[in-house]
């Protein structure tokens, strides 16, 4: 039996028990969507529906944000959490946006998720393919019978390579992912390497790199919508008076504005899930911007969380007399 099936069985069994014992009223997990490469968020309330639940390396959208408002708020709910999802949930708790008492956290040890953007380096239209996970290999087969085999590491989301805790900590119960042993996500620090490489590049090279990539942006806001921590009730970019960002996608200044501000707004709350990277239809490496701020925060202030909400007298002083950094 494939290992993903074993994990799925354990998951369904566990959720069934929870719903039957009325410990929870609803459970938030993943279900099959229309695309083979993407799972969709799924809420179930009846024990007989547990067979719809599933989990594998295509279970991407983070679920904890669905507890913030809407029908699930203040209900007794169970939720399936990967490492990054748990980090997001912890953040919401710290910000007093959820009531932890009502939430049953079911963790699952994660072995990373795939990035369709990465797959498109090898395939023309990845969405045409079905995926089969088998240890360190992934087999993609199309409807026309074509088969391609990948190393799982090559199509893994860049953020998963540097995930701090793929196995969520402090959860009510943990499901051991049977597939996880074969697949150790941490291979290399690709994101940090790119940042360091760019830092060393000349000014012109840096400028060209970002102008070329950011100018591809269609301003679809998918990167904003996908981010679990990017959820202000009124977004800066939607304010109409004054309008900070207009509809032009021709002006590089507008792209710079969007991406720099987006990076600042998520940098100190980012949970490193990589949703933004996976959402981008243009495969733009804009996430390097918030990762760069995260790196600087770490180096300059030695803390990551909430670094932009606090500031102290003994912080480094980069502007002493004369204003030069």
């Amino acid at each position: 039996m494939p290992k993903t099936q074993l994990t799925k069985d354990k998951l369904q069994q566990k959720v069934k028990e929870l719903l039957e014992s009325e410990k929870i009223e609803a459970f938030v997990g993943y279900g099959e969507g229309d695309l083979s490469l993407k799972k969709i968020p799924l809420v179930i309330t009846r024990p007989e529906d547990v067979s719809k639940l599933t989990f594998d390396q295509t279970s991407t959208p983070l679920l904890s944000r669905y507890l913030l408002d809407g029908e699930l708020k203040d209900k007794k709910v169970g939720i399936l959490l990967k490492g990054c999802d748990k980090r997001a949930l912890d953040l919401f708790e710290k910000e007093n946006r959820i009531n932890k008492e009502n939430i049953y956290t079911l963790g699952i040890s994660c072995n990373g998720v795939i990035s369709i953007n990465k797959m498109s380096e090898y395939l023309n239209d990845p969405t045409e393919y079905e995926l089969n996970f088998d240890g360190e290999k992934v087999k993609a087969s199309s409807k026309t019978g074509e088969e391609v085999e990948f190393d799982y590491q090559d199509i893994l989301s860049p953020h998963c390579h540097i995930c701090q805790s793929p196995t969520p900590e402090d959860v009510d119960d943990l499901i051991e992912n049977e597939a996880s042993e074969a697949l150790v996500p941490i291979k290399e620090d690709g994101i940090m390497d790119s940042i360091i490489e760019l830092e060393k590049a000349s000014k012109e090279e840096k400028y060209q790199y970002f102008i070329e990539s950011l100018n591809r942006c269609r301003r679809c806001f998918a990167c904003r919508e996908a981010c679990p921590v990017c959820n202000c009730p009124k977004c800066l970019f939607d304010i109409e008076n004054p309008r900070f960002l207009d509809k032009s996608t021709e002006e590089s200044a507008q792209h710079q504005y969007y991406h720099i501000l987006r990076a600042f707004h998520v940098a100190d709350r980012c949970v490193g899930c990589g949703e933004c990277e996976r959402a981008c239809p243009e495969e733009i490496p804009f996430y390097l911007l918030h990762e760069k701020i995260k790196k600087d925060i770490d180096e300059m202030f030695g803390e990551k969380e909430d670094a932009l909400s606090y500031a102290y007298p003994d912080d480094v002083e980069p502007f002493e007399e004369g204003g030069e950094a």
Partner: protein, 140 residues
Amino acid sequence: MIKIAAFCCNWCSYAGADLCGSSRLKYPADIRIIRVPCSSRVDASLVLRAFQKGADGVMVNGCHPGDCHYVSGNYHTRRRMALLKNLLKFMGLDDERLEVNWISGSEAGKFQQTVLDFTDKINKLGPAEEMRDMRCQKPS
């Protein structure tokens, strides 16, 4: 002619600029002073907006660390602007065009000198086209 947007906090650097004027110390007319309640009111958004709409240099001026009228406002300015400058540099943009200065209400001389130095620097660098929204450019 170059343009410089200078955000000055109400309590220190704006008072410094005021004193500079009333003491008849001369400084270049390239600068446009924008009074803000506290230097921490200035975030990345305002700085970028200034560059987009025609500024060639942006100054953020606040009270000396420790002297903030609101106790800790300028510590936030310091963190934020340090990160912003780093990020601009990372993107290959001219981070020298953004300067942060601590100027108190009695430092008229320092205000004058800072503006002189900064205008000098920006004059040498020339117009900041890399961050400009080109639609704001007058047809020449």
